[in-house]
């Protein structure tokens, strides 16, 4: 949804001729105009569009038979609070206008309306609407980013805290082992049972340790330092991370990293974030029962890391859109990440590039190309 294209108006007035004439003139000025003759028709326009408003500004006649403009205003503000409403009042009814503003209308104009005036008001209302929308989106992104950042810090904090009790458990289990090794079945008749249980404890401790280790692998530490990065390892780790979710949906994750040289100089934390983001998107694209392939391929001075899915695919005209800053197909509280825009930004910082291939109905492939060697400054000519 492009914010800057949003100049959509709704005219609500019981006089059909007036509506038609006004609509013609507004359309000449470049607005997209819908019309409604009364409150019901107005509501009908909004039917079935729960998540996205079909218009940005409503021009609303106050004096209508049946349901009055003020009543429709009340409904609009209650159900679609982000839409700005401009009231058109009768020339003796400034009281209606004032009441309307108190009830949330952007402003009012008295009939007969000066067309230039109306256009001015509409543009002002649109600007306010866009600013609020923009602000809202930024706030959502910030909240999402903050959530992720604090989640990261929280995870690190928790993982660190868990290290200590794990260390105690490990020593205690090792101690029990020593005691068991020194005792014979004679002085310990249930030695085998003890050994079995201690073995389970040791295995579980090791599993817990691996989980916290993995969690901390996803928390970035220092900005910008490039280290020896094993892409094969990162692919394997990320696949494990997403394994449960994938399995629950009947999705198979295939790793095709043999044959490629996976070691490069880069930032493993950033690459993990990027790969996890793409993998999560792929899982959602597939939905249920499909295959996601994570592959590595040598490409001269670079290496190609691809995430391919058998999902619904992306229509050609949307491929550019999905990289825009606030684009998301997910509802705001899913919070699965910062989107492809941020992912693309990270890849850019790593001196890499991302190509998207997709076919509707067949699937998509997100291919990241990364340089093998350290680069102090990214050359624009290199992939």
């Amino acid at each position: 949804m492009r914010i800057l294209d949003a100049n959509r108006l709704l005219l609500v007035d019981d006089e059909a001729d007036f509506r038609a004439a006004l609509k013609r003139r507004l359309e000449k000025r470049g607005f997209a105009v819908l019309e409604a003759g009364d409150g019901n028709q107005c509501r009908w326009i909004f039917e079935g569009r729960a998540d996205e408003d079909p218009v940005d500004v409503v021009i609303l006649d106050v004096k209508m038979p049946g349901e009055s403009g003020i009543e429709v205003l009340g409904w609009l503000k209650a159900n679609h609070p982000r839409i700005e409403v401009i009231l058109l009042t009768g020339h003796a009814s400034t009281a209606d206008g004032v009441e309307g503003i108190k009830k949330g209308a952007f402003d009012y104009l008295t009939k007969p309306v000066e067309f230039q005036h109306l256009v001015q008001k509409v543009n002002q209302a649109i600007e306010k609407h866009n600013n609020l929308k923009f602000k809202e989106k930024i706030e959502k992104q910030m909240a999402s980013a903050q959530r992720l950042a604090s989640l990261g810090t929280l995870s690190a904090g928790i993982a660190h805290e868990i290290d200590n009790p794990l260390a105690t458990m490990k020593e205690a289990a090792a101690y029990l082992r020593l005691l068991l090794d020194k005792s014979s079945p004679l002085d310990m008749p249930r030695k085998k049972d003890f050994e079995n249980a201690v073995g389970k404890i040791e295995t579980a401790i090791e599993r817990a340790r691996r989980i916290t280790h993995q969690l901390l692998g996803f928390v970035k530490k220092k900005e910008g330092t490039k280290v020896r990065t094993d892409l094969k390892e990162i692919v394997a780790e990320t696949a494990v991370f997403a394994e449960k979710e994938a399995r629950n949906r009947g999705i198979r994750i295939v790793q095709a990293t043999e044959g490629a040289e996976g070691v490069i100089w880069s930032d493993p934390y950033e690459i993990r974030q990027v790969l996890l983001n793409l993998l999560t998107n792929a899982i959602h694209a597939v939905g249920r029962d499909g295959v996601i392939t994570l592959s590595l391929k040598d490409a001269g001075p670079s290496v190609e890391l691809s995430v391919e899915d058998t999902g619904e695919g992306i229509p050609e005209e949307n491929i550019k859109t999905i990289l825009e800053p606030f684009f998301t197909t997910k509802s705001p509280d899913m919070g699965t990440g910062l989107g492809l825009y941020v992912t693309a930004g990270i890849i850019d910082r790593l001196c890499g590039k991302m190509d998207i291939f997709s076919q509707v109905g067949k699937g998509s492939c997100f291919r990241i190309t990364l340089p093998r060697k350290r680069k102090a400054v990214c050359d624009s000519l290199e992939p």
Binding site: G157, I205, L216
Partner: protein
Amino acid sequence: MTNAPVRVLIVDDEKDFVEMFSLRLQETGETVYTAGSGRECLDVLGEENIDVVVLDVKMPGMDGLETLKEIKKRNPLVEVILLTGHGTIETAVLGMKLGAYDYLLKPAEPIEISKKLKDARRRKQEQEARIREAEQKTLPSGSFAL
């Protein structure tokens, strides 16, 4: 000489960890002392003959690095192994630059800990042997040896 018990001082504010670690090491034949803080550690070092200190990096009060610096000031030959969690690895590496023998990430494999203890103790013994040799060379033939 390498199979003699290692005289270990465990320094960590986590009481349960210290207890289990101490019991396990004693069960494998080492001689174990414990301390719950940096201050206590220095007190014990002043009284006992310690080979290796196993020191937790993150402690309230006098933290690991401060304690390490004091140990190296007072007993430079005592080897120190740092115990660290994931968030304090950089501190541990800094500690190595300040003279710690090595570091271990919690939770560490008990076998690995024991191996590092023995290796650290060996380094101490080798240094002490070199010192004895050097001392003997400075003695004039005959007396003055105390």
